[in-house]
């Protein structure tokens, strides 16, 4: 009798526990994922998607609007936007917060995937390829962060519970430590991706890894290493300059010969479009340049300064900047606006379908030229510089010294890469940021200045609120 009673009780108790064990059948949980190649690829796409979010305009506020390349035309921008236009960024800037957030989210997703790949039994060549791609993405994001913020928290492990997060050391490590991680990641990725060459250009590749590595070395002023790895990209022979510059920035700019790494977007009101059409064009109700007379928002519009810095006859100008805008009534109004990546085929805000090209061959050539110049080989550097100028049907340059060459390549990069998010990084790398920006402000009679401490962005106040031990950059 007792047995039956205890059996009954046991039965009831176990049924009870089962009764309370309710699982969400409509969601994937971490317990039943990460099993096969398809799972890992899907997770990898997630990391690329996070990268796509970063580029859908926010990063451009920090890299273009903060410079003499762009300004705000809208009369009522948010304070966060104004802070970049006026070189007065504060720690509560929402755009800075966003860049920090999205970049670290991508890094953490990359860490999660890397650990799971290493723990899994996934075979070759998928395992190496995926790991290579993940390492590239992690390095990509750390590189952006370290250039923008300096010392950073280093996270290389995934988390499985809130306690793990709270007990992790998230204090800021020196920029040098970060760079070591970046270089190590890229070097490993180079090997892992050595045999992968048939992926889309929106995915990582050996060329992308090497280009990024070259940029890293250049930023750290290690010109010999930079030149070496960039030459390897040139010698690969898989990339060439687009004969028509404009094709890089209009509809159909997918898988171009010059593209090394692109971020894809898609229109069709599916939530995968971009907002470049909005930020680069004027905030006018009466424009007739978009279907349905869609309005622009005038947030990151090219300045008169950059418009005037093109040499006469430079083919790049008409693909990058427009001086007057067509109005509804058929007349033109004088109003500068940007053209790159602006999708004139869609009248829906935020639905632009043109891809963003993050790394391209022209960048490799100009970086190589810059490195060579710093190593003293100015004449050899000129060859590569002129290759880029050729494409824009500009005169070849000859007979300049190292210092003059620096100015020339700085300006060349400026007009080649306007609106593409290079300017801020270029000015910081060459130590010219304050000189250029303060001259720009003075020219325009604006009493803004780029101070010493403003060469780094402030750590977002939200992050410091969460972890008071996180030290803020000096001056903020």
């Amino acid at each position: 009798m007792k047995i039956y009673l205890s059996l009954a009780v046991l039965l009831v108790l176990s049924a009870c526990d089962d009764f309370l064990n309710v699982q969400p059948e409509f969601r994937v949980s971490e317990d039943n994922f990460y099993e096969n190649e398809n799972d890992f690829e899907t997770a990898l796409i997630g990391v690329y998607a996070t990268t796509q979010q970063l580029h859908n305009v926010t990063l451009l506020y920090l890299t273009e609007l903060s410079t003499d390349n762009a300004e705000i035309q809208w009369t009522s921008p948010t304070s966060s936007e104004m802070e970049f236009d006026e070189s007065n960024v504060t720690s509560i800037n929402t755009l800075v917060n966003s860049v920090w957030n999205v970049s670290y989210t991508a890094i953490s997703r990359a860490n999660n995937l890397l650990t799971r790949l290493e723990d899994s039994s996934l075979g070759e060549p998928a395992n190496s390829q995926f790991r290579g791609e993940v390492l590239f993405l992690r390095a990509y994001h750390y590189f952006n962060l370290v250039r923008l913020f300096g010392d950073l928290p280093v996270v290389t492990d995934p988390f499985r519970s809130p306690d793990e997060v709270l007990s992790y050391d998230m204090s800021r490590q020196s920029a040098e430590t970060i760079y070591q991680i970046i270089i190590s990641d890229l070097t490993t990725a180079e090997d892992l991706l050595a045999n992968t060459d048939d992926l889309s250009k929106s995915r990582a590749s050996v060329g992308a890894v090497k280009t990024l590595l070259g940029k890293v070395h250049l930023t750290r002023q290690n010109h010999a290493e930079a030149a070496e790895v960039l030459k390897e990209v040139i010698d690969q022979g898989t990339y060439a300059l687009q004969p028509d510059y404009q094709t890089l920035f209009t509809n159909g700019n997918t898988e171009l010969l010059e593209t090394i790494f692109e971020i894809k977007y898609l229109s069709g009101n599916l939530g995968e479009g971009n907002s470049f059409s909005s930020v680069f064009t004027p905030p006018r109700f009466d424009m007739a340049i978009f279907p349905g007379n869609m309005q622009g928002s005038g947030r990151i519009v090219p300045t008169a300064d950059v418009a005037e810095s093109y040499e006469a006859g430079d083919l790049r100008r008409s693909a990058s900047i427009e001086d007057s805008v067509l109005l509804v009534d058929g007349t033109f109004a004088e109003n500068i606006y940007g053209l790159k990546f602006v999708d004139f085929t869609t009248g829906l805000v935020g639905d632009g379908g043109i891809n963003f090209i993050a790394l391209r061959y022209a960048d490799v050539l100009l970086m190589y030229a810059e490195a060579l110049n710093e190593l003293g080989s100015t004449n050899e550097a000129l060859t590569y510089l002129n290759e880029v100028r050729d494409r824009s049907e500009l005169e070849q340059i000859a007979g300049v010294n190292q210092e003059e060459f620096r100015r020339i390549v700085e300006n060349e990069r400026r007009v080649e890469f306007v609106s593409e998010g290079h300017r801020w990084f270029d000015l910081i790398r060459t130590g010219r940021a304050q000189t250029v920006m303060n001259a720009y402000f003075a020219d325009r009679g604006l009493n803004f200045t780029l101070e010493d401490h403003e060469l780094l962005m402030p750590i977002p106040q939200d992050e410091i609120d969460i972890d008071p031990n996180l030290a803020q950059n000096i001056g903020y």
Binding site: S76, I107, P162, L266, L348
Partner: protein, 1041 residues
């Protein structure tokens, strides 16, 4: 041959008066029934009755509070009956969890309202009727939408991430209304009109409790302190509202018919500028912006930038003939009708209550409406001496259509469009169509589309169907020992059909493509409860009432939605006319098991003791913390029962109560403790490529929020019950608060939900009922309700931590939840001298711009100067009802009010921004114009430029939301008994009624309680416009047969 007649053929009419032996007063409402039959009547206001019975019949005369008498009918035709008070029974029965208790034995804090007392005509749902009626319960009418609901908050807000809704128990069936952010309209108004967004819009517009027909309600008992709510364990922390519906009566029959017709109009319109004021204002704003940019006010339009141009006719406001009142255009006077019929009958063994009703409310905004059908049958049957069964079955079907009334007009808010539109624009064009001129958009006249076109182009159709059936069987095992077992099921479906045509603009994108979305949800919830009760009185003095129970409940929620775009025309508003390219399907469930026990002990009706304990297990919580225990303990002392109180005549009852207990709050998502992945899309070969990323961190330690509450209470009645007071003092400490603890971005998650905070609510509640005048013909009684609550956060996740509840509110230690955290606008710079040396928000700040407080005294005004400037919680709320009765006429006046709450008029950032674009609330006419004409010192100058934070968030838009409202005026006339019986009716009353006659308040919006957050109480106090409250005039009659 046997002839058996059970009744003699001759019947006589017997009449007489029933009076009370103590007072000698006539007693109305006394049942006089022919014994053994259903032939009965009720005494009228003057205690008179009349009944036809055969001679020799026995009359059974009974009434609550009096001993029943039986009188044999002899030859007399007049029988006056005197009834004796039954002191025992004079005691009201109060519904507690899982049972009832005599009011005199109660040790917890429970407020009871009778259904008839709160019933408001022309109102769809009972929660809207409770405002100002129950101490300790704050009822906010956040929206006036037909069929919408109210927010009920018992003893303050105490949860940030979990819900704050009380538990509703309908005839013993606990209902989870799925509150929290379910009706938070902030999350849709403004974001996503793509097909995916339309498919994901799941907010409630119809009150989920609409299946409870207010006419069916017998009583509402609100359990407030832990002693009363602990029996509901993990769901009791926010209070429990127990609704008991009418059940038949044995040996009685009655049919009731209620018919009413009302007319509604918007109770309070916003005062806007007229065409002349607007024209002057627009010119002002544009000129100032142009001057700021370096020009001169006299410059002609062709040298100005597009945004600073002024139409020539606006330079001469007097010449403008057109003066459109856009509120007039979208508002209408709307009828509301209510038809209810109920039958209440029973014999010795069975009683039935059957009812049906139809409610039809047209909305005061054109195209909106709500209709509902209700049916109910409550049956109780005594099968044998020991066995009783019963059932409560109700079904309802409601449907409605709602306009988009929240957010910016750029996202289709037709209410904002009507407020912002320039009064200089006509309604119709010369062909009779809706007027539209693109030039008005380009010139920035607060115009994107004609509001009538927007009303027509957007449709939001809702349907809600519910069936609730709760069935019990009760077996009396031995004397005092009863076993009760119940099985109930709730089935509900909900349909949302959304359509947005290309006539509805998305900011300035004209012809934004049409999209549609449909969401269908189905919910099945079953409940099984088993209780064993033991009631016994030992040795005359010891009264014991013990309960032991076990319950299980499971809920399954199935939602499917689809969205479509690419509609070739706007004629057909269904998904079938477009291409379905978005949608989802999910099933979400929870399960719960509970054990409970309670003991009530009373010694000589003087010393009272109650102890309860409940153990709950829920599927919502982490593996390690799935079960929780909730005990409570309370004592009561009926001082008035003591011998030494016998001499004190003027005190009728005096009771002291004290209680302490634990209850819990489990209102979080069903799967919050599980580590889930979410889709995030990328792009492949010209098509979507889905990816999966971790979206939540698993947490095995996730558990309930726990509320520890102390309550001290006092019940006193004096002067022969002419003055009754109930007072409660409470302190509630809520710990283990579920907080979305923000995690560093480097973790990859924004936050994880953990149990980590502490919040305190303390306050006082008073309920006072007085009979001020009582004479033969005239009676005046009053009912006063007062509640004051203080909310304070004691602990958050991190030392000095802070949570942003919204862009305007934060929660931090030492202040109430969701306090407003804004730049403090302290006035306007009247002249250039004032600007000199002051802390400025922009280097070019000038006279006429806002002046802000430099909180951190660093000489600059920026976001670090934000500070707490108020909170959305009232210091106290009150209700005051007076009822005057003169013979057959009765007048009742109800007032209620709230003091101390603030509300952020988010809509003001559009219609009070002084930009010179949108039409403005008339307050903007008192703006700064020049140093000689500085206005009221609160509204800055008109300028179409936000460099000085003129239209950004700041305390400029924070207003005092205190108010006093004349909630109801009711005049009722009851036809005298004699006239009524001539019409063969038991009773007939007619009434005239006004609801929301006037609200006295300084708030510039439609209503001071207006809140776009719905029942997401934590975001309360942000008014981005919602459906305005109506003022309703109703006429009706009630017939009883």
């Amino acid at each position: 041959m046997q002839i058996g007649f059970s009744q003699s053929l001759s019947e006589d009419a017997i009449s007489g008066i029933v009076t009370s032996i103590e007072e000698g007063e006539p007693l109305p409402g006394v049942n006089v029934v022919e014994k053994g039959t259903t032939n009965g009547t009720i005494t009228d206001v003057e205690g008179q009755y009349s009944i036809k019975v055969p001679s020799g019949a026995i009359l059974v005369v009974s009434s609550i509070g009096y001993l029943t008498r039986e009188v044999q009918v002899g030859n007399q035709t007049t029988i006056d009956i005197v009834l004796q008070e039954d002191v025992q029974q004079l005691d009201e029965l109060v519904v507690v969890g899982y049972g009832t208790q005599k009011k005199s034995d109660l040790t917890g804090s429970i407020a009871r309202v009778s259904g008839e007392d709160v019933l408001l005509p022309s109102t769809a749902n009972f929660d809207q009727m409770l405002q100002g009626k129950v101490p300790g319960v704050q009822v906010s009418l956040t929206s006036g939408a037909p069929g919408g609901g109210a927010n009920i908050l018992v003893r303050g807000v105490s949860s940030i991430t979990g819900g704050n809704q009380p538990l509703y128990v309908i005839d013993g069936y606990p209902i989870d209304p799925g509150g929290g952010s379910n009706s938070d309209l902030l999350s849709f108004g403004g974001s996503n009109y793509s097909s995916a967004g339309m498919a994901n819009n799941t907010q409630n517009r119809i009150n989920p409790l609409t299946f409870i027909n207010p006419a069916d309600i017998e009583s509402i008992d609100v359990l407030k302190d832990a002693s009363a709510t602990a029996i509901y364990g993990s769901r009791g922390a926010n209070g429990v509202v127990i609704i008991t519906t009418k059940r038949g009566s044995y040996n009685q029959s009655q049919i009731k018919l209620d018919v009413s017709y009302g007319v509604q109009e918007v109770a309070n319109r916003i005062d806007l500028m007229n065409a002349q004021q607007y024209a002057e204002f627009l010119a002002d704003g544009r000129d100032n912006a142009w001057v700021y940019a370096g020009g001169a006010a006299s410059d002609p339009n062709d040298v100005r930038t597009a945004s600073t141009r002024v139409r020539p006719e606006f330079r001469n406001p007097g010449s403008i003939a057109q003066n459109t009142d856009w509120q007039d255009v979208i508002f209408q006077v709307a009828p509301v009708q209510n038809y209810q019929i109920s039958a209440n009958t029973g014999n010795d063994k069975m009683k039935f209550y059957l009812s049906g009703g139809y409610f039809n409310q047209q909305g005061v905004i054109r195209t909106s409406e709500f209709q509902r059908f209700n049916l109910r049958s409550n049956i109780d049957a005594q099968l044998t001496d020991k066995l009783t069964i019963g059932t409560s079955l109700t079904g309802s079907h409601g449907f409605g259509r709602y306009p988009n009334t929240e957010g910016h007009y750029g996202t289709g808010n037709v209410l904002m469009a009507a407020l912002a539109a320039s009064p200089t624009i006509p309604i119709y064009d010369e062909n009779g169509g809706y007027f539209f001129d693109q030039a008005d958009v380009i010139d920035g006249l607060g115009w994107l589309a004609n509001p009538l076109a927007m009303l027509e182009g957007y449709s939001d159709d809702r349907k809600i169907t519910d069936i609730l059936s709760n069935n019990f069987i009760e077996y009396s095992i031995t004397d005092g020992l009863t076993l009760k077992s119940s099985l109930g099921i709730q089935y509900g479906t909900n349909v949302i059909k959304l359509w947005r045509s290309s006539d509805v603009p998305f900011f300035t994108t004209l012809n934004y493509p049409a999209t549609a979305g449909v969401t269908k949800t189905e919910r099945i919830n079953w409940l099984n409860e088993n209780t064993l009760t033991y009631r016994k009185v030992f040795g005359e003095k010891h009264s014991l009432d013990a309960l032991v129970g076990f319950t299980s409940q499971k809920d399954s929620y199935d939602r499917m939605s689809a969205g479509a775009s690419d509609f070739p025309t706007d004629y057909v508003t269904y998904l079938s006319a477009g291409i379905v390219n978005s949608g989802t399907h999910l099933v979400s469930e929870w399960a719960m098991l509970s054990l409970m026990s309670r003991i009530n002990y009373a010694y000589d009706s003087k010393y009272l003791l109650t102890a309860t304990i409940r153990r709950d297990g829920s599927s919502r919580f982490g593996r390690n913390r799935q079960w929780g225990t909730f005990p409570s303990f309370s004592v009561g002392y009926n001082v008035s029962e003591e011998a030494f109180m016998d001499g004190v005549d003027f005190i009728n009852t005096l009771k002291l109560r004290a209680s302490y207990g634990l209850s819990g709050n489990n209102q979080i998502g069903n799967f919050t403790h599980i580590g889930l992945l979410s889709t995030i899309n990328y792009v492949g070969n010209n098509s979507l490529l889905p990816g999966l990323v971790p979206s939540s961190l698993s947490n095995d330690e996730l558990t309930w929020e726990i509320s520890r509450q102390v309550n001290l209470g006092l019940d006193v009645s004096l002067f022969n019950e002419r003055l009754s007071l109930t007072a409660d003092f409470y302190r509630d400490l809520k710990t283990d608060l579920l907080l979305a603890v923000e995690l560093p971005a480097a973790s990859g998650f924004n936050s994880s939900t953990q149990n980590i905070g502490d919040i305190e609510n303390k306050g006082v509640e008073l309920g006072l009922q007085t009979v001020n005048v009582r004479s033969n013909q005239f009676e005046w009684n009053s009912n006063i309700v007062f509640s004051a609550n203080r909310n304070k956060v004691l602990k958050l996740a991190a030392e000095g931590g802070r949570i942003s509840n919204s862009s305007f509110q934060i929660t931090q230690v030492g202040d109430p939840i969701s306090s407003f955290y804004l730049l403090n606008a302290v006035g306007v710079f009247e002249n250039a001298d004032e600007v000199e040396g002051a802390a400025l928000q922009h280097p070019n700040t000038q006279a006429g711009d806002l002046k802000f407080e430099d909180v951190n005294e660093d000489g600059a005004i920026n976001a670090t100067d934000r500070k707490i400037v108020g909170n959305p919680w009232p210091d106290y709320t009150w209700g005051f009802t007076n009822r005057f009765t003169y013979k057959n006429l009765s007048l009742s006046v109800s007032l209620n009010g709230s003091q101390g709450a603030s509300s952020y008029f988010r809509a003001g950032q559009t219609i009070l921004n002084a930009a010179g674009v949108q039409n403005q609330v008339i307050l903007a006419d008192r703006r700064w114009r020049s140093p000689d004409s500085p206005g009221d010192g609160l509204v800055p100058r008109a300028i179409r430029n936000n460099y000085a934070n003129g239209f950004g968030p700041s305390s400029r838009f924070l207003f005092d939301a205190s108010f006093t409202r004349i909630r109801e005026l009711n005049l009722t006339y009851r036809l005298p008994e004699t006239l009524a019986s001539r019409l063969s009716m038991q009773g007939l009353t007619v009434f005239a009624n006004v609801i929301n006659l006037h609200t006295f308040s300084d708030y510039p919006g439609f209503d001071p309680e207006s809140s776009t957050a719905g029942d997401n109480v934590v975001n309360t106090g942000i008014d981005y416009l919602t459906y305005p409250l109506p003022r309703t005039y109703t006429f009706g009659l009630n017939l009883t047969f």
